[in-house]
Every structure is written in C-alpha cells, then in structure tokens.
C-alpha cells in the first residue's frame, strides 16, 4: 500500500443493537478520494452504519476515526461529513438556493461568496434554473441533484450517500451514476455510498465492501468482494464483469474486461463503460484448446476452488490476473476432466451468451 495514502474514515469494531437492525463489529476503511460502495441486502445494517459515521446515532461499542482522530463522541456538526439520506431530506420551507447555501451560512461565509459558490455548484449539477423554486415542486431527479449540490458546496471531508438512486426510474439512475462518476473525477471528494444494487456498485466503486447481517464480510476491490460466499448467495451465481467497449462491428462489440477481451452481442458505442453478465452454465470447460468451435470467446483460466451443488460442481476460476468467472459443470465431467484447484482450463462461451446489464 502507498504509505502516503492515509486512512480518512474508519470504523473500528462498531456495535449497535436496535432489535431488527444490528451492527455486529463493523470495521471498514475509506481512504482519501475513494469512492467506497458498501453493497448488501436490505436489512444488512447499511443505513445504520452511515448514521453512526455521520453522528446521528451513537454506537453501543466501537470507534469511529476521521483522519486518525476518534470522533465517536463528537456531535454531527463537528465531523464535517455531508449526509445524503435516501429521501434527500431537503428542507421544504426553504428555496433551493437556501437549501444549498445552508452549509455555508452555518460557517458564516460572506454572502457574496455564498452566491458565487451556489452559482458554481448549481451550474455543475445543471440546476441553476431551479434556485428560486421550493423543493416540493421538484421532480425526484431534480431533488436528488439539489441534495448533491448541498453536499458539494462545501469541502466536506466525505459525502455519505444512502441508496441515492433507490426512488428513481432506471434511465435516471444510469444518468445519476454517470453524473456521480464525473463529479467524483472532477472534484475528487471521498464518498461512502451504500446500496443493495450490484450494478450501482459496478458503475461507481473504486473500492467496495460487502455487508451482510450487520457485518462487513469482505472489503477491497469489487471483483474480490463479490467472490465471497455471502455475496454469491445474495447476488446469485451470475458472473458480472465491468468493462469498456473498444470497438463494434456487425452487431458485436469487443469489450475490454479486466486484463482480457470479450466479444459480446450487445448494443453500445466504443468508449462506453458497460457491465456484462454471463450465466455460469453458458460456459464450457475444456482441458485443451480445440481448433474447431463456434464459441467466439476462448479464455485460459485457472481453477481456484470447487463447490458441490447437488449433481453440479461450481468452479471458481480466474482468467488472467483479475477476471473471476463462475462455471457450472456436471459432477461426472468434473471427474472426467480431473478438475481440482490449480487445474489449467480453457473456458468457451458464445458472444450471444454475454448480456449487458448497465
């Protein structure tokens, strides 16, 4: 790890019991400029964790650190963390301008500077025409951008986002992801974002954690996080891959995924970021490369582990350095192919078996 990157926000062994919702020893870290996505099913305690970090709830046990300082007992206003709840929590009695200006007024920023900053952030988020409106007259997407503007108008140490796209329709969600990614690249803020949606995690995360029943099961890069048993159980066994379209021709797209290339029958333009899915039963496993095959994708891979699922065996394979693929074979073919951990295999699948998710 780069020694210059110090941990910005960390929780240490956080416990909180609210009956239905619980935190059971949550330790999670987000470094400066990370876009950390905490993924997990509803009821996992994701919102509770954000509320503890924000200072809206006091944990029963454990510590919250910001820049190495213990802030567990500090009130929210002393933590410098912007919180964006699922319902955006815009103040209905204030105009959009005053909603966005609020963090600045709390800090006694001069009125001329407030005007300048609100103007700047509202231009960034394309809401400059809404400044005189009341939040209740805005659409869901507009409200969300106002809430984002309020969180970005001041240099908070981090932005905490709780399922910010949950109430938006699918096309609006995708444009929100794009917007968040662009803002993150331009402004370089640190974000902790919780969601139950794996596509959202793929679209945004530079770092990720999987949360399940009040615990962080694993944290790190998203691909690694998704290989845990709990994540597989929650997300199903479908392979999900993030990639970038390099070229398109005749209805096919060449997509760079991790350190390899995949051909897929999908819509899209070169340069677009995509998330692809591939069912594990659509992949054929060979021990040696055969010359004749209608499958357009042929990858070399290593078996990492085998799991027995009734008459089937689920193989966890790794292709190249980073691409993890789950594959189903029958028990008899696993025996015939003499598959065991570290076996070298060839994976084949059709371009039409690859679907675009995002």
């Amino acid at each position: 790890m780069d020694s210059k990157v110090e941990t910005l926000i960390a929780t240490v062994n956080l416990h909180l019991n609210l009956g239905e919702f619980k935190l059971r020893g949550v330790s999670v870290k987000a470094a400066n400029r990370d876009y950390m996505v905490i993924l997990g099913p509803s009821g996992a305690g994701k919102t509770l964790l954000l509320e503890c970090i924000a200072g809206l709830r006091k944990p029963d046990k454990g510590m919250i650190l910001i820049d190495g300082n213990d802030v567990t007992n500090l009130p929210p206003e002393k933590r410098e963390l912007a919180f964006l709840p699922q319902n955006y929590a815009l103040w209905p009695h204030m105009r959009v301008f005053d909603n966005i200006a609020y963090p600045l007024r709390c800090r006694r920023v001069p009125e001329s500077e407030i005007k300048r900053r609100v103007k700047w952030v509202s231009r960034e988020l394309e809401i400059a025409h809404l400044l005189n409106r009341k939040p209740t007259s805005l659409s869901g997407g507009e409200q969300q951008r106002v809430a984002l503007a309020r969180a970005m108008v001041w240099e908070f140490k981090a932005i905490l986002l709780d399922e910010p796209t949950a109430s938006l329709d699918p096309s609006l969600r995708r444009s929100t992801w794009k917007l968040l990614r662009r803002l993150h690249e331009r402004m370089g803020f640190t974000a902790i974002h919780v969601t139950h949606d794996v596509a959202e995690a793929f679209a945004l995360a530079t770092k990720s954690a999987f949360m399940y029943k009040g615990k962080i099961v694993k944290q790190g890069l998203l691909n690694e996080v998704l290989t845990t048993a709990e994540a597989v159980q929650y997300l199903g066994d479908t392979n999900l891959m993030k990639g970038k379209i390099l070229d398109t021709a005749k209805g096919e797209a060449l997509v760079r995924v991790a350190d390899t290339h995949i051909i897929a029958v999908i819509d899209g333009k070169p340069g677009e970021e995509v998330v692809l899915s591939l069912r594990p039963e659509d992949i054929i496993v060979l021990r040696e490369r055969r010359l004749e095959s209608s499958a357009r994708n042929i990858l070399q891979a290593t078996v990492e582990s085998l799991e027995l699922h009734g008459p089937l065996v689920l193989l966890h394979t790794r292709s190249g350095e980073k691409l993890m693929l789950k594959v189903y074979v029958t028990k008899s073919s696993a025996e015939y192919l003499k598959l065991k951990p570290k076996s070298k295999v060839i994976l084949c699948f059709k371009a039409s078996a690859v679907k675009r998710v995002v």
Binding site: E77, F83, P85, A89, W91, Y102, C106
Partner: protein, 251 residues
C-alpha cells in the same frame, strides 16, 4: 341512508338553531348601548389582554417542553405527558380552587410572587394564571404533534451540514412546526376567552367579559345579555374562521 340523513338533520338543527334564535332576539338599540358601555369595553379588553399574554407565556414555556416530548425518550415521559393533559379533564371550578391554593396569597409562593408585583387573587395576574393552566394542554399537544411530524432526517442533515442543536431548532424545527404551534396557540387563546368557572372563584374582579355575561344575566335578565353574548360570539367565529384557514393552509 335516508334514516341516517334524518338523524343527521336532527343534530344539525340542534347545533344551528341556537345561533339563529340568538340573532332573532337581538335588539339593535341594546346592541348599540352595549358596544358603547365603558364597563363592557373594559372587560373585553381585559379578557383579550389576559388571553394574549397567557398564550405568549405558554409559547415561551410550552414549546420547549413540546419539543422534548416529541423528540426524546426518557424515564417518566408518560407521567409528564399525563401532567400536561390533566387540565383538560379537571372541572373549571376545581381549577380555580387549585390555582388559588397553590399560588394565591396564602400559598408558599406568595411572598416571592408579591416581590415581583404578582398577586394571584382578584387580579389581572390571577386571570392570566388560570388561562395558562387551562390553555397549556392545547398548545403543548399541538406543538408536540407538529414537532413529531417532522422527518428526523430534516434535523439530522442540518446537524451534519454544520448547524448546532440550537441553530437546527431555530432554522429547521421551529419553522416546520410553526403552523402547528400557531394552531395550538389559537386554540389556547380561544380556550382562555371562553373560561369563566375558575375565574368566578379566583378572580371575580377585575371582571372579564364572561363574568360580566353571568352577572348581567342575573341582574338585568336575558335581553341585555343577548347583546353582550353576540359580541362574544362574533369574536369566537372570527377565531374559528382563522383557525380553519390555518388548518387548510397546513395541508
């Protein structure tokens, strides 16, 4: 449906006819006399002053309590809520006796109160004390409901954005609950305007308008009292209309 409608007509008649009969009995000459009587004007102004002052006092002390009850859980909360609601069910004459014993000239507090010029018997302050006692539940309950209906995230996000507890209260909670507080204040004010039972015991003098209604009824009879009653009724109706308007504005 027809049967229900018939029953409804009976109750509606019972509720509206008294207004009509009161108007019919009104004598314009006596109404003019009443409106120009110095005694009446004095009693009316006194009642308005005391009701308004007691409502303001209730807002200063009641709104913070309402906020605590709406936002925090603590031991004995149910008891505190019961205490604030109790005045609603106590008979008015009993309120008069209680306030007299508790804060009157023979009470342990009398010397402290007298030092600041407050005597709770047959005085303006006695009237204010009674009004505060009977109006408190209305104001506190309304304000409490107002605070409780605010999404806690609206306050929580203000804290995260950098506002302390005090700033959050003044810039978020109070404005958002203002309509409920106003409704409660108006209800408490109207309740004060209608109080008479407790005043007959603790503050017959200086005479409030309702005490005067009873006195005139006993001395001059119905005709004179009708004129006086009409004035009180108009005030009540104005308050009622304003209240309905606030409630509609709220939605």
């Amino acid at each position: 449906m027809v049967f229900f409608s018939l029953l409804s007509v009976v109750i509606l008649f019972f509720l509206t006819y008294p207004f009509v009969s009161l108007m019919l009995l009104a004598d314009p000459k006596l109404l003019g006399f009443t409106l120009s009587s110095a005694t009446i004007i004095r009693a009316l102004l006194l009642t308005l002053e005391a009701a308004t002052l007691s409502t303001l006092i209730l807002m200063v002390f009641g709104v913070p309590l309402a906020y605590i009850l709406a936002r925090f859980e603590f031991r004995g909360k149910k008891l505190v809520e019961a205490i604030t609601d109790l005045p609603l069910v106590i008979p008015h004459a009993v309120v008069g006796i209680m306030v007299l014993i508790a804060f009157g000239p023979k009470s342990p507090f009398s010397s402290i109160l007298e030092n600041i010029g407050v005597i709770i018997e047959n005085s303006f302050w006695a009237i204010v004390a009674v009004f505060c006692f009977v109006g408190a539940p209305l104001l506190i309950d309304c304000a409490k409901d107002g605070f409780a209906s605010i999404d806690p995230y609206l306050e929580g996000v203000a804290r995260c954005m950098g506002a302390g507890a005090g700033r959050t209260f003044y810039t978020i909670s109070l404005p958002l609950a203002s309509k409920s507080i106003l409704t409660g204040a108006l209800l408490a004010w109207a309740r004060s305007m209608s109080e008479v039972g407790a005043l007959l015991i603790i503050a017959y003098y200086p005479k409030t308008i309702n005490v005067l209604v009873i006195e005139w009824f006993n001395i001059y009879g119905l005709r004179y009292t009708v004129a006086l009653t009409l004035i009180l009724l108009s005030i009540s109706i104005i308050v009622f209309v304003v209240l309905r308007w606030i409630l509609r504005w709220k939605h």
